[in-house]
């Protein structure tokens, strides 16, 4: 058998169910791998080794008593450090939460724990999930396992790198404008952004509440189907979650795409796209055609405005969500420095000093941008305008989905870029999300699956998009394409 840490979630679940391996052995193998690889990759902010090994023991006991909590009982999973985990430090990769230990559990991680998952640790991210390279983390730079001189993408770069480097069996991340899909593409793994409201946001440190989504980052499409079933569902603590029934995504995976109509929106194939990426995406389209799908050229004319819509709505919501960091109730605070200063701080100075010291540049930029577009005199011109254009983007997706079942596009215009290549120019960094961002204002689900590698052995993903709440169709088509490409057997990072 191959090394245990290399197993996918479904493979590990099978081995555990058959009693061929134990959670203790699997968890130990994953931590041995981490101790070997993590110094090179830096995917984690906090490791949960002691508790994880205890969780594994408990899991084995349940299995011995023939009472596993779920199929994933005992499987090591990594969690983006944006999910509040009770008793485990949660930083959002920001100094302002450097020593924050939540007193409550996010719904998503609670569901993982209730299913018996072993929590490996908390993965690195762009500060407050703001970024596309994980470079805005206040703690460390995560390296792309395929080329340690390049970024893993972001903001869920730590989760993507941990999965790609086999330092966990699967991971979870968050996606507000591409933060699951883009790092998945750059690290050669599968990343699923579900429909808005499919998975509860409760206990996930908020960035932009009308856009934030939670999803799996995995080695295979089937693994994402398994995890989505566990994560999805209504939650009274998040009133934007849907009451729609959660199907058994794994069982319902159809590997048949015959007669499916797949739209190719021409706006996603414009200038600025790397020719190698273009070639790989077009080869995937041909694979779909070969499987019997009908390929239909379509157009979504308002898509070109989606990034502009996003860079108004997102910072506006960031401004409100980050107002809670004021140095009073939790997080970095200058209150304690009171005595050491000549002049006593006023209440307002506590707010200002705590925030100025705690937030990094990207958070500051977005907070200020948000306050600008929401401020008196600009509210109508920016914010209301963006909300109206958002409607147009959403309606164009709806209209297009009347004539096609799914769409296929690139995920990112380029493969993984080098450290520092875009971090000096925020607008350039923002433009790297041009193909993932439009999905979030429309609320539809999309998946990134690895489709090939460039001549420098850097992975490239393709994005499949479905109508709202059509995750079953999305995953079925993805699993068919995944099989036709055979990425996981053909390519792997050279670590």
């Amino acid at each position: 058998m191959k090394e245990l840490y290399k197993l996918s979630l479904s493979e590990a679940a099978k081995e555990l169910a058959l009693g061929k391996i134990t959670s203790e052995k699997l968890t130990e193998a994953v931590f041995d791998r981490i101790h070997q690889i993590e110094p090179k990759v830096d995917a984690f902010i906090t490791l949960n080794e002691k508790a994880a090994k205890e969780q594994a023991k408990q899991s084995d006991k349940r299995r011995n008593n023939h009472q596993p909590l779920s199929a994933i009982d005992g499987i090591p999973i990594a969690v983006k450090d944006l999910f509040c985990t009770k008793g485990i430090r949660t930083t959002a990769a920001s100094k302002i939460l450097d020593d924050f230990i939540p007193e409550y559990e996010s719904t998503a991680t609670k569901k993982l724990l209730d299913a018996g998952a072993v929590i490996v640790g908390k993965t690195n991210l762009d500060q407050f999930a703001m970024g596309s390279s994980t470079e805005t983390s206040a703690f460390k730079k995560t390296k792309n396992p395929w080329d340690l001189n390049r970024v893993p993408g972001g903001s869920s770069g730590g989760s993507a790198a941990a999965v790609a480097a086999d330092m966990c069996i699967a991971a979870i991340g968050t996606d507000t404008g591409g933060s699951i899909r883009q790092p998945a593409s750059l690290c050669g793994i599968v990343g699923l952004k579900p429909t808005y409201g499919r998975v509860s946001r409760y206990g996930v440190i908020a960035m932009a509440s009308s856009l934030d989504t939670i999803g799996p980052m995995t080695k295979t499409v089937e693994d994402s189907a398994i995890l989505l079933k566990i994560l999805a569902g209504h939650d009274k603590n998040d009133s934007t979650t849907s009451e729609k029934n959660v199907p058994n995504y794994q069982k319902n995976l159809k590997k048949d795409v015959h007669n499916l109509k797949i739209g190719i929106p021409k706006e996603f194939f414009g200038e600025g796209m790397d020719p190698e990426v273009d070639k790989i995406v077009r080869a995937s389209i041909e694979k779909f055609r070969g499987l019997g799908a009908k390929i239909v050229p379509i157009s979504l004319p308002s898509i070109k405005y989606a990034l502009a819509v996003y860079y108004i709505i997102m910072p506006a919501e960031v401004t409100s969500n980050l107002a809670r960091f004021d140095g009073i109730r939790f997080g970095l605070s200058t209150i304690k420095k009171q005595e050491s200063r000549d002049k006593k701080q006023t209440l307002e100075e506590v707010y200002i000093n705590s925030r100025t010291e705690g937030f990094g540049d990207e958070a500051k930029r977005r907070i200020m941008l948000g306050n600008y577009v929401l401020s008196s005199g600009y509210y109508d011109a920016y914010y209301k305008k963006a909300m109206a254009v958002r409607t147009k983007v959403k309606e164009e997706f709806e209209k297009a989905f009347l004539s096609v079942d799914l769409m296929i596009t690139p995920v990112s215009p380029t493969a993984a870029f080098e450290f520092g290549e875009k971090s000096a120019d925020p607008l350039q960094m923002y433009l790297s999300d041009i193909h993932t961002v439009p999905i979030n204002p429309a609320g539809v689900p999309a998946i990134s699956i690895p489709a090939g590698v460039t001549k420098n052995n850097l992975p490239v993903g393709v994005q499949i998009i479905a109508p709202q709440f059509a995750e079953e169709q999305l995953l079925s088509a993805a699993v068919a394409l995944e099989k036709a490409i055979g990425f996981r057997n053909r390519y792997q990072p050279n670590l």
Binding site: I312, R329, V350, T356, L369, Y372, D425, L427
Partner: protein, 101 residues
């Protein structure tokens, strides 16, 4: 309308409860101006009569029962992450220090 001056940046920093150095003011003025220039392209879009979208899956008012939740955080739990907490309260600097109060 998109070029931000140093005065604009000072104003939005104040609204944001952030203090900026002179160097940061000019850096952010340039970077934020670039972003605002980019988003100005929205003016090309005709949105007359288009409704604004704030909830994308079409949910309307979602109600909950008006009752006290049992499992909220206790005072002891709240205290753990608070910089200064006394007598079941978060401590902040006095807001009024004028002798007349």
């Amino acid at each position: 309308m998109a070029k931000l001056t140093k005065v604009d940046v000072e104003h939005i920093a104040k609204l944001s409860k952030l203090e900026l150095t002179e160097e940061e003011k000019s850096k952010f003025a340039g970077q934020l101006s670039n972003v605002l220039e980019y988003v100005d392209q929205l003016n090309e879009v005709d949105t007359i009569g288009v409704e604004e979208t704030s909830q994308v899956t079409g949910l309307r008012n979602v109600y909950q029962k008006d009752q006290v939740e049992e499992n909220t955080l206790t005072s002891e739990e709240l205290q753990k992450n608070a910089p200064d907490f006394r007598n079941d309260s978060f401590v902040v600097p006095a807001v009024f220090d004028d002798e007349r109060f």
